[in-house]
């Protein structure tokens, strides 16, 4: 413990001094020509105390001082894992499904709203996972497809009165086409060139949505989108069907749940199919994949189209839930958020991404009490998560070694 501390105190002290130097100009120099130190010291003191406690815990953990606790915990975890393995996977999936179905029965509006959000982002995350996790193409403009889906439904509904259910496939198809349009010119690019071009496309879509006043009503957005509707039989005056709009939150939750389940099943089937393996081969080594007879051109385009499809579905639902769309919802930060879910959860792993989506939506809600500090903590948490679990929360199991591992 003392040994460990001796090794670490110097960089720690330098770090704190560094922080002081960075903090003071922002807090201590005033425009009226005065200098002050008290506010800087208060903030710095809090940070120093907090980080010192974290450091102590870390050191205790390192030097095995709390080993008994850790051992007991790991033994418990092992036992739990062994017990869980005895029950077939289908049981766990079924249990999760039942829980998800029963969820609205014993929760309030707020919790349902958050859960619906999580489900939408699960769709988005899994869609992006096809492009980034499976095909290995970094896409920073993914939210554009979400926007295409949302605006498709909004415009169809407002101008032509098309119902949600009919718009859903149309939105998916249009998003697919948008994916191909964006995918086609970028197919020759690799790595970071691809990243900036997709980012550029995402921004172009957002700016067009923002400025094409006659079609999209610009930054004011489109109001008056109808929620999803169903026909329910009505026996009052003979037998007829009555149009019923699903405005209640828990009905919307079930629609989101259905969409999410469809996405999960589809992505899983894709992942373990011929196409999924072809995508993974492209990710690992594109040249080798091409040599082995994988049609990289078509498959990369397909990856874009499939990823966009799920975003389009999610977008149409998002619009139906909000009954309003504006370009505000489709900024780069949203793309970054979805990408964070994929990477944080573990690229290519479906349960990981579900967990990542849940974490990134629920965490800011938990921090809501801190109001202004929310995003600050969120940014910090992202960095810390990456430092401690760079491969994601539930990393996907991979066959063999990747070329990155060898480069070192």
């Amino acid at each position: 413990m003392i040994q460990e501390f001796k090794k670490i105190w110097k960089p720690y002290a330098i770090g704190l001094a560094w922080l002081m130097g960075l903090l003071w100009p922002l807090l201590g120099i005033h425009p009226d020509g005065t200098l002050s130190f008290d506010r800087t010291f208060t903030v710095w003191g809090y940070i120093a105390a907090g980080s010192f406690i974290c450091l102590l815990i870390h050191l205790l953990n390192r030097s095995d001082a709390i080993q008994p606790v850790g051992q007991a915990l790991s033994r418990l975890r092992e036992q739990a894992a062994r017990a869980a393995q005895r029950v077939p996977t289908q049981f766990w999936v079924g249990a999760a499904l039942v829980l998800a179905c029963l969820y609205p029965l014993f929760t309030g509006r707020y919790a349902q709203d958050v859960a619906t959000n999580v489900l939408i982002y699960i769709c988005l995350g899994l869609g992006l996972n096809i492009v980034v996790g499976l095909a290995g193409m970094l896409d920073l403009g993914y939210i554009a497809f979400y926007g295409v889906g949302a605006y498709t439904y909004a415009l169809l509904n407002i101008h032509f009165g098309v119902s949600f259910w009919l718009s859903l496939p149309v939105a998916a198809a249009l998003a697919c086409i948008a994916g191909c349009i964006i995918g086609y010119p970028t197919l020759r690019m690799r790595g970071d060139y691809l990243a900036i071009v997709t980012l550029g496309f995402g921004e172009i879509v957002r700016i067009i949505l923002n400025n094409w006043m006659t079609l999209t009503n610009g930054p004011n957005g489109l109001l008056g989108v109808k929620p999803p509707s169903i026909y329910i039989p009505n026996f009052d005056a003979g037998f007829s069907f009555e149009l019923f709009y699903i405005k209640k939150l828990h009905f919307l939750y079930y629609i989101a749940l259905a969409l999410a389940i469809i996405t999960i099943v589809a992505v899983r089937r894709l992942n373990f199919s011929r196409i999924g393996r072809a995508w993974e081969s492209i990710r690992e080594d594109e040249t080798a994949a091409e040599l082995m007879g994988v049609n990289t051109f078509l498959l990369k385009l397909l990856a874009y189209a499939m990823g966009a499809l799920f975003a389009g579905l999610a977008g149409a639902f998002f619009c139906a839930r909000m009954r309003f769309v504006s370009p505000e919802s489709f900024t780069f930060i949203e793309s970054a958020m979805v990408l964070s879910m994929v990477v944080l959860g573990g690229m290519g792993s479906i349960p990981g991404i579900m967990l990542g989506a849940a974490a990134l939506i629920v965490l800011p809600e938990v921090f809501r009490e801190f109001e202004t500090y929310r995003m600050l903590v969120f940014g910090m948490a992202m960095v810390v998560m990456m430092l401690f679990r760079p491969a994601g929360l539930i990393p996907a199991k991979r066959m063999g070694t990747r070329s990155d591992d060898r480069e070192g």
């Binding site: 005033h30 080594d285 940014g379 992202m382 960095v383």
Partner: protein, 303 residues
Amino acid sequence: MDYFLQQLINGITLGGLYALIALGYTMVYGVIQLINFAHGEFFAAGGYVGVILLSYFTGRGYLDTHPVLCLTAAFALTMAYCAFLAIGVEKVAYKPLRRESRLSVLLSALGMSIFLTNALMLTQGVYDKAYPSELFQGGFQFGSVTISYLRVMILSMTVVLLIALNILVFRTKIGIAMRATAQDKIMSSLVSISSNRIISLTFGIGAGLAAAAGIMVGLYYGSVRYDMGFLPGIKAFAAAVLGGIGNITGAMLGGLIIGMVEIFGAGYISGQYKDVFAFIILIAVLYFKPTGIMGENIDDTRV
């Protein structure tokens, strides 16, 4: 014609500023193959520290008596501040992840960017902060084209910084060490170049340039905002990629092109879509030359 000349000067000014920011992206990419998403925040921090220092000087009354000295001090201190900020960020958020996959570093950078934006917002407030406006009044008059002193200052400052950087990278020992590290980390460490130190230095220099651009943008537009780093950040990134990422001359060229395209697009086609033109040019160029204008044929680096 006058309109054209005016726009040309506007384009060169903006292009120079983009080039300054783009250099940070491209240098960092050259050394550790990371898209430093927090780079735009160094630019914003530069704008803020600049306004803090300049208004402090105004408050003390120094700015009226020694304007040149104050401005020089503000530039120097701000650049140093951002250099230290960038080095700190690198040590905390990127260095421990150097062996991990590139996406996890990217995400760490993204988190850092969110963190820094919000730190600026919390310490400086959500409203615009105004630069002291009495610094540069008037300008040169060429026929009907006016070039304000401010713009002359920005242009000459940009040129000086770019030349200084070129000398640093291509003529000094530090520059040789930097280029060696960019080419091969293991080999350069074998000839006793400390790659950690070079990486810190690269971050520092890149952030310093961005900070200078931040002050100049603040002076030019008269105010700064906590989220001002985002859009110039991604456009400068686009400029760096357009020129061929990792290539210093390319970043300067790319910045100039993006700035020109933006100004001329806004002036002659449509002001609303000015951000679109830059990206369309970027996509068009990359479609025909997927590694940028001056980029070498990089081996297939993946995410």
